[in-house]
């Protein structure tokens, strides 16, 4: 897990986030409406 991703208070959310993406990179292309942080103009870096 990247250091920058350790931002969630909940261990469960942290775990879900940490295990994300590595298994399904190709799925992203199929999913309309799912945007990355980079694209979200209103992303809040808490």
């Amino acid at each position: 897990m990247k250091k920058e991703e350790k931002v969630f208070k909940s261990a469960k959310v942290q775990r879900i986030w940490g295990s994300a993406l590595k298994y399904l990179p190709e799925l992203l292309e199929e999913l309309k409406g799912v945007k990355s942080d980079e694209k979200s103009k209103n992303s809040l870096d808490l």
Binding site: E5, V7, F8, K9, S10, K12, V13, R15, I16, W17, S19, A20, L21, Y23, L24, E26, L27, L28, E30, L31, K32, G33, V34, K35, S36, D37, S40, K41, N42, S43, L44, D45, L46
Partner: protein, 209 residues
């Protein structure tokens, strides 16, 4: 000042945004739900959609890996290819063997999200209302979206205990229609298509009521 009771309703894309680590704002919102600061409700239909899509994707991947491994076996009948392709084949075999475990981990993430949220039940009446919606040619126009939308309307009918109800979806194309906005307004539901704006609104309500 009393604690504000906030209900955030999300749909399929929210689950994908979290399990694919694509939108940190959605992670923050889930964090708030895990701390019981807000309630997040997601239609049961959305979780089934996620499960179906992930299962389908892994199946397709396994079939492709199987085809490639078979082809490599054919090529490796020659000694030359056997030497050069051995490592490639072993790695692909490992991917193939690990596939069910990886699928389970992804599905487990979806289950964990579900455990932090209220799952909006689906029933025959909701399906029927979605059908009527299609007959009346009312948005959203995709069948699954209609099912999800009707389950949300049904769920929010008697939710007077909340000070604020928000519907968040990143799917502006399918949900941003005048009819939907008007209907949600009638149900006193605010709608957001941007996760940052949605998170800002939730935090504002939590901080200032």
């Amino acid at each position: 000042m009393k604690n504000q009771k906030i209900l955030l309703i999300c749909e399929t894309n929210f689950v994908y945004s979290v399990i694919l680590a694509q939108d940190r704002n959605c992670g923050y919102l889930l964090d708030l739900a895990s701390e019981n600061k807000i309630d997040i409700a997601i239609p049961e239909f959305s979780f089934l959609e996620v499960r179906g899509k992930i299962g389908e994707r892994f199946k397709r991947r396994e079939e492709k890996l199987g085809d490639i491994i078979s082809f490599l076996n054919e090529l490796m009948r020659s000694e030359y290819h056997k030497r050069t392709l051995y490592d490639v084949k072993e790695k692909l075999k490992q991917l193939y063997i690990n596939s069910p475990k990886e699928k389970n981990e992804v599905l487990q993430s979806a289950e964990e999200i579900k455990s932090l949220c209220i799952s909006i039940p689906h029933n025959a009446e909701i399906s029927y209302r979605a059908f009527l919606r299609s007959v009346a040619n009312l948005p959203p126009y995709k069948d699954n979206d209609r099912q999800i939308y009707e389950s949300i309307l049904h769920f929010t009918k008697d939710k007077d205990e909340y000070d604020l109800i928000i519907f968040y979806t990143s799917d502006k194309e399918d949900f941003d229609h005048k009819e939907i906005r008007d209907e949600l307004e009638e149900h006193s539901i605010e709608v957001y298509f941007d996760s940052g704006e949605c998170l800002r609104r939730v935090k504002e309500e939590l901080e200032h009521g």
